[in-house]
Amino acid sequence: MILPGNASCQGCPIAMAMRCLDEIENPVLVIPAGCSTVIAGLHPKSAMKCPVVHVPFASTHSVACGLSEAYRKLGVDATIVAWMGDGAADIGFATLSASATRKDDILTVVVDNEAYMNTGTQASLSTFWKAKTTTSPTGKTEEKRNLALVMLAHKVDYVATASVGYIRDLRRKFRTAGKKDGFRFIHVHTPCPPGWRFPSEKTVEVARKAVMSGAWILWEYDGKLRISPPSEKYADKSKRIPLKEYLNQGRFAHLSDEDVKEIERKIDEEWDLLLKFS
């Protein structure tokens, strides 16, 4: 669905995820401002083979809802995909939440690079604990919001997390969600080389280490919540790789051993909470 020679940086995880849109039939993308906007191309050129509507942040789900209703009335077979960054999910949260509550016929994909990258790495609600960004110059002090769990609380039919480090699992989730009707939500972990400060060839390795250290948990809800196969064994803490191996990125270079232990406790709490639903 995305053509070569687009504007994504070297090793871009969002471009990797956009390639997986091939799993979805007749997608129509609704994209608020962010890296995805730039990657999708500047008029009169588009990097996407499918229709794209560029929208202001807070209108994302209103536009998507209108399109989806119009296509249904006209009998056009299309899958409306609201494709947004984690920052757009912060800024557009009111309409995202309302759309989920109405159970609009929309697939929402949040590509989460844990900051507002397109404007130069400002912290978002998704930014990892203690990570350095331009608005958290000594490391983020606030909580990290678990957006997928928040969406699950809207009692929608399908919610999943995914990662560009496990592309077959990601493609399967796009395929599964693409075939369903109603409000579907997929939260994709997208480690960003320039924003997190690691070399461009390490995108997949960093994404996998997030899962192997338990810091990013792959799960799927379709009436029942299940931990996805790549994450299963990391429910057992003793099977996880040392967290420090994942935190080997420029944005964490300032962390002390005590900081790492504190983050480990946060990760344990995330697992405890999630496993209560499974």
Binding site: C12, M16, V204
Partner: protein
């Protein structure tokens, strides 16, 4: 109203010939390549085609090195561009 002029058109190379961004060129050693397609799935740019062995379109490959990292056969080497 004619909408045509305000609609963008799907274009290969929407950001130009991105192969010129490359500092290192990924080179496939055909005898080591098993044709497993792992590099095809992970290449962010979608410039790898695997028909028996992997082939890379250097017009647009940005030289990120992801393919080298995911190849379990170690069939891809990164060579410095001139």
């Amino acid at each position: 109203m004619r909408l045509d002029p305000i609609l963008s058109k799907a274009t290969v190379g929407s950001a130009g010939e991105t192969g010129s961004w490359r500092n290192f060129r990924p080179v496939v050693e055909a005898e080591k390549c098993s044709g497993c397609k792992e590099c095809f799935y992970y290449c962010p740019e979608g410039v790898i085609e695997v028909k028996g062995v992997a082939r890379i379109d250097y017009r647009f490959c940005k030289g990120c090195g992801v393919c080298r990292e995911v190849c379990r056969q170690k069939a891809i080497v990164m060579v410095q561009e001139e």
